[in-house]
């Protein structure tokens, strides 16, 4: 008795189409795992001719003036940082790296910017990004030519801050709009509209005394803790040039 042997020529691996599909899927999975660094680098090259130039000088200078006014108050305690932020577009020393914004998402679900300096320029994950006015965010990812910055307005961002007038630490949490929330875990905190907020000396993520914003409104509803909306000094939706601070805390 001879067994009937099935001779099939129609297996899935015989079809070229299936192999192409599998290869595409594996490639996209690689893109996903590498967090799109391939696409970001590709975007770096094709967006190069459109990078921002000198045309934003007025906005930049106005914001620098505002920043210096606030810094004068802080100068009594600490004038070290003021010397570092001088000519924004020219300086690029070992401590600070000047970078241009090549992609910006500031209004939708995602609040991030992509800069034209990456790991080849020495940018590292966790570096601080400041613009004219003050803090913008932190570097969360780097590719060879680009770095992605999570803005302080992003819901994923949580930073320790310092309210200078009442000498109290708080938590700055992004709420998905242009005004992040300041949470003070003390119901007796005497916070007022117009109070200046800077990075906390106790923070493990940021160096102290980087200007962040001004209290715009205070939420009265919550009794156990005080929350306030912060108006940021640096405007991520218009800034084209930023500085990456390579600081070790």
């Amino acid at each position: 008795m001879l067994g009937i042997r099935r001779i099939s020529t129609n297996r899935w691996w015989h079809k070229k189409k299936n192999w192409i599909f599998l290869a595409t899927f594996l490639f996209l999975a690689f893109v996903r795992i590498s967090k799109g660094s391939f696409f970001k680098d590709f975007y770096y090259f094709i967006s190069k001719p459109f990078w921002p130039g000198q045309f934003q000088k007025e906005i930049v200078l106005k914001s620098i003036d505002q920043e210096y006014l606030i810094k004068l108050n802080l100068l009594k305690k600490d004038n070290l940082r003021l010397r570092r932020i001088l000519s924004l577009q020219e300086s690029s020393n070992k401590e600070n790296i000047s970078a241009a914004v090549i992609s910006r998402k500031t209004g939708s679900w995602w609040r991030q910017i992509i800069l034209n300096k990456g790991s080849k320029d020495g940018v590292e994950i966790g570096n601080i990004v400041i613009g004219p006015g003050g803090l913008l965010g932190r570097v969360k990812e780097t590719s060879l030519f680009t770095s992605s910055v999570i803005l302080v307005t992003s819901p994923e961002s949580k930073l320790g801050v310092w309210v200078d007038r009442i000498q109290i630490n708080g938590l700055l949490v992004g709420s998905g709009d242009d005004y992040p929330s300041l949470i003070l875990y003390s119901k007796n905190a005497d916070i007022k509209v117009g109070d200046f907020v800077s990075s906390s000396p106790a923070s493990t993520l940021l160096p102290p005394n980087i200007p962040i914003g001004i209290v715009q409104s205070i939420d009265e509803k919550l009794k156990s803790k005080k929350t306030a909306k912060i108006l940021l000094l640096a405007k991520p939706h218009v800034i084209d040039w930023v500085q990456i601070l390579k600081v070790k805390i």
Binding site: L28, R32, F39, S108, W109, I114, K140, P155, E156
Partner: protein
């Protein structure tokens, strides 16, 4: 004669790859994020403009697969590790494949707007639910207001641009299929 044939062959190859070229453009536009096309700082949901004509021509399974591909790419370009766009795009890709082409051109145009608005709403709600689920324990209700604004602005913009972009892409895809 030979050169003419060769150039024609090259042209045919280019036209047959138009759909793939337009697919690569989606992440570029997503990164570019042109502010002058936005409303309240929100952009239209770009992947739907490509996914709708593609799924209408190639069917539900193809739509589902390319929804997954688009989701994978777009997720890799955003910094939010906790949230994903894949479920919304897969669902929309599948849904779009069920839609048949309409003979009335004018009605077809408005239909694209309506379908894309609905799909954008679905994707927005699915993304919002993820954010809500993540922040549920924090009691951070402040996040709700900007999210609702995002969804509404995105629905409006996607519906506004869809008739222009989808109908053109549909024409391109049909045209490129002729050269396959």
């Amino acid at each position: 004669m030979g050169a003419n044939f060769e150039s024609k062959n090259l042209m045919n190859k280019f036209f047959s790859k138009l759909s793939i070229i337009s697919f690569i453009l989606i992440p570029i536009i997503f990164l570019w994020h042109p502010n002058w096309l936005g409303f309240l700082g929100v952009q239209p949901y770009w992947p739907l403009f490509w996914l709708l004509p593609w799924s209408m021509i190639n069917g539900s399974i193809n739509g589902l697969i390319f929804g997954l591909f688009l989701g994978l790419i777009l997720d890799s370009l955003t910094l939010d590790d906790s949230f994903t766009q894949i479920p919304g795009l897969i669902f929309c890709g599948f849904l779009f494949g069920r839609i048949k082409l309409h003979s009335d051109i004018l009605l077809g145009h408005f239909r694209y707007g309506l379908i894309c608005s609905f799909a954008s709403f679905l994707c927005g709600i699915l993304y919002f639910l993820q954010i809500l689920f993540r922040n549920f324990s924090d009691g951070n209700i402040l996040i709700m207001i900007p999210s609702v604004k995002n969804i509404l602005a995105e629905v409006f913009l996607t519906g506004l641009f869809a008739p222009f972009i989808c109908s053109q892409l549909l024409r391109i895809f049909k045209f490129s299929r002729r050269y396959l």
